[in-house]
């Protein structure tokens, strides 16, 4: 009987798979979704991040969120076998009333406090951080947090569901502090011995949209979230969510290229640098085992000349182009712009989610950054699997 039931179950799953078809690459930075990835969440003393999440529906929406700290065990030392990423995870629930937007500063979190004073016009007082209906108790991150935030839409009982009601943004504020590695202020560019030598009123801001994964009709609501793929033992209904992209396409500057805003002359000392923040699609919060991905990067310059390289990321990585390969320098590529196509290698079992950061540095060392959402192409055969501890993914 059990075998019979199992066979029926597989047939049903196969039929469902036929109906659903293979998932398309519908990770998106411009549509509401059921899973939100914020790949770059930083609170390290130099940078802090504001998270914005909105319910785009007319019903109440719940979400289960995970902070994943990808900081090195010893942040001041280079990565290596004795200095791996922490990959510590903290999770919490939020709930949003119809169409409700919310926000929090990651270093502070957002505690439930109905006495938060709203802004008012009399006298002008627009300093009302945390006023509004609190979305739940959002914990602050630890000091020196460099990692990601992931939120999964759930029902009131915590079971994942494909509502596609969430959208989000992350805003990073950078303070002008003294970099111990370069001995210069990170934004002002002047020489410094400590933070007191830098301009305490100088900041920079960058913003990106959260990357959303759209949920499909057939979501069994269990603790194993299947992103793309065909029906299997782990994913009997096939793709519960759309697949992670096969390829990310990044239009970027050659590393160190002269900034066109300053004429773009090769003799100009201004420069533009790019970094990619990358997280795996697959994550197992039950075993807390960090996922590793190996990436193949294929780059074309303006002459259509092609170079390629590989990069690897464990759990979370913020990779400067210069860290990936020397071939991305302006001297090597020979043109201001390049197009890179980034995909996991065939042997890598996880897709990736990524955002870019572009830093423009003047000849005098002044700097400004902009975050960039990259384009996607194709879908991974999948599945990528996010595993939530069962206690967190259903009735308590």
């Amino acid at each position: 009987m059990l075998r019979q039931r199992g066979r029926v179950g597989l047939m049903a799953a196969a039929l469902v798979g036929m109906v659903v078809g293979s998932a398309s690459a519908q990770v998106t930075t411009e549509k509401s979704a059921s899973i939100l990835f914020f790949p770059k969440v930083i609170s390290d003393g130099t940078r802090d991040t504001v998270i914005q999440i909105t319910n785009t529906s007319n019903s109440m929406v719940h979400a289960h969120c995970f902070y994943v700290n990808g900081a090195l065990t010893f942040p001041d030392l280079p990565p290596g076998p004795i200095n791996p990423p922490l990959w510590t995870e903290v999770d919490f629930d939020i709930w949003l009333t119809k169409q409700q937007p919310t926000h929090w500063v990651v270093s502070e979190g957002r505690l439930v406090d109905p006495t938060d004073v709203p802004c008012n016009d009399n006298p002008p007082n627009y300093d009302c951080n945390n006023a509004g209906i609190d979305p739940g108790r959002v914990p602050p991150v630890v000091e020196y947090f460099t990692g990601e935030l992931k939120c999964v839409e759930t029902g009131a009982d915590g079971s994942p569901l494909s509502g596609n009601h969430l959208k989000g943004e992350a805003t990073t504020i950078i303070a002008d502090v003294c970099s111990p590695t370069t001995g210069t202020c990170v934004l002002g560019g002047n020489d410094c011995a400590d933070n007191g030598d830098c301009d305490e009123d100088l900041y920079d801001v960058a913003k990106y949209n959260a990357v959303g994964v759209i949920g499909n009709e057939f979501n069994d609501g269990d603790n194993v979230l299947c992103l793309g793929g065909e029906p299997s033992d782990e994913c009997p209904f096939g793709a519960e969510y759309d697949a992670c992209p096969q390829t990310w396409i990044a239009n970027h500057f050659a590393d160190g290229a002269p900034d066109p805003f300053f004429a773009g002359d090769v003799d100009d000392d201004s420069a533009v640098f790019t970094a990619w923040t990358i997280v795996p699609c697959t994550e197992n919060f039950e075993t807390q085992a960090p996922e590793s991905v190996t990436l193949f990067v294929e780059t074309y310059n303006e002459f259509e000349q092609r170079v390629s390289s590989f990069a690897s990321v464990d759990c979370w990585g913020e990779l400067a182009l210069s860290e990936i390969a020397t071939t991305y320098t302006f001297e090597s590529l020979g043109t201001t712009f390049a197009q890179s196509r980034i995909r996991p290698t065939a042997q890598t079992r996880s897709g990736i989610i990524m955002v870019g950061t572009e830093a423009h540095v003047t000849a005098d060392g002044n700097a400004s950054t902009a975050d960039v959402n990259y384009h996607i192409e194709g879908s991974r055969p999948g599945p990528d699997i996010i595993t939530i501890p069962p206690e967190q993914a259903g009735p308590q």
């Binding site: 549509k31 169409q99 627009y126 504020i173 239009n251 090769v266």
Partner: protein, 394 residues
């Protein structure tokens, strides 16, 4: 402190402008996938000292476009100039007082719209970029390639399969200062639109100054918005149909969703005692444009605004050609009385849902932090319009 001055510059511009003036189809205008039509809603250029002689900052837009396919592609592009002009002098104006001249008296600051078009051939996987102020012309065929020149001339060097940039030239924007947008359409070598979703693009808005010591830069970046062609549906006429019952391209969105700080909200991170405030500029452009008759599209935009208490406000405002406005100037010229004012809403952040009536819209947002500078971001889309939008080519 210089951040504050250039931020004021852009806010001033926004306030001045606001005071002046059968086949299934998906809502797949997109900023994260390659497409056949690209739109950069925000193209801005102004030299130093534009608003006042004391201004030492220039503003410019760096435009990037690339071909994501292994075949060359031609694009037909249109700069849309949305500058208003004085009725008496013909000069560009962003406020009524700009048209008062001791010799001619005061004229009217009239809205304007015209287009300048050009064609470019992009070789396989080729990325290109240029400044709105300068365009792109000539060739630099050996590395290091000079910025502002095309790399492959088809005479001394060739791309894959003999492709090249031969015949390409991008003009500078037609006026300084310039406020407008850019739209590019994938076409074949004869200029006929084609259903090739192979274009992606970006815009980087930069405030910069070279002369002061030290120099200065502040940037924000957003993706061009793509409108994907429906495979096999694009015919060879000059009317491009976006959405509706017989679409050639995907439809424009029914609702545009913007998550934002309410205007003048105090930055929750910067705690410097100066109450560093945040404002947002929303730029909207119509999906429909008639380049043949030089008639810009327009719409009445209905806005629903939600704060963090789930309180709902609404307002509506017509727009034509382009809207470049502080959120808190959409419904009033008195910003602190606006429904987008943090003082009126009572919370720091909000959600605005913009529903265009009578024509589709796409847009982008600029978030200005008084102490921290500029951050651009792409806005979200939901649903698709029942009625089609039309782009009429010359």
């Amino acid at each position: 402190m210089r951040q504050v001055r250039w931020a004021s510059w852009m806010v001033g511009l926004a306030m001045a402008l606001a005071a002046g003036g059968v086949r299934p189809v998906a809502a797949d205008v997109t900023s994260d996938r390659a497409a056949a039509i690209l739109d950069w809603p925000s193209v801005i250029f102004a030299e130093e000292s534009f608003l006042s002689p004391a201004d030492t900052f220039g503003i410019n837009t760096l435009l990037q476009v690339s071909n994501t396919s292994e075949d060359p592609v031609h694009i037909h592009c249109f700069y849309e100039n949305a500058n208003p002009h004085c009725s008496n002098t013909g000069e560009v104006c962003y406020a009524a007082e700009d048209c008062c001249d001791p010799m001619t008296g005061c004229g009217l600051c009239l809205p304007g719209w015209n287009e300048t078009d050009f064609r470019v051939q992009i070789t396989p996987f080729q990325p290109l970029g240029w400044l709105a102020s300068d365009g792109m012309a000539g060739y630099s065929t050996f590395p290091p390639k000079q910025f502002g020149k095309f790399p492959i001339d088809g005479v001394s060097n060739f791309g894959i399969g003999g492709s090249s940039n031969a015949g390409s030239r991008i003009p500078p924007v037609p006026e300084e200062p310039f406020l407008g947008s850019l739209r590019c359409i994938a076409v074949d070598e004869d200029g006929i639109p084609v259903d090739r979703n192979v274009l992606k693009g970006e815009a980087t808005l930069g405030f910069f100054a070279e002369d002061p010591d030290p120099d200065f830069i502040n940037v924000g970046k957003s993706n061009a918005i793509g409108i994907q062609a429906i495979e096999g549906a694009v015919n060879d006429d000059n009317v491009l149909v976006l959405g509706g019952p017989e679409p050639e391209y995907n439809g424009c969105p029914n609702v545009l969703i913007i998550n934002h700080f309410f205007d003048f909200a105090v930055d929750p991170i910067i705690d410097d005692g100066l109450d560093s405030q945040i404002v947002t500029i929303l730029e909207l452009v119509p999906c429909s444009e008639d380049y043949l008759r030089q008639i810009p599209g327009g719409a009445v935009v209905q806005y629903l605004v939600y704060n963090e208490f789930e309180t709902r406000f609404s307002t509506s405002r017509p727009m034509q050609c382009k809207q470049f406005s502080l959120l808190s100037n959409i419904d009033t010229t008195q910003n602190d009385r606006s429904i987008w004012s943090a003082g009126v809403q009572g919370t720091l952040t909000g959600q605005t849902r913009a529903n265009p009536i009578g024509g589709g819209l796409i847009g982008v947002a600029h978030e200005l932090h008084e102490q921290a500078g500029l951050a651009d971001f792409n806005i979200h889309f939901q649903g698709d319009r029942e009625a089609p939008d039309f782009i009429v080519l010359p």
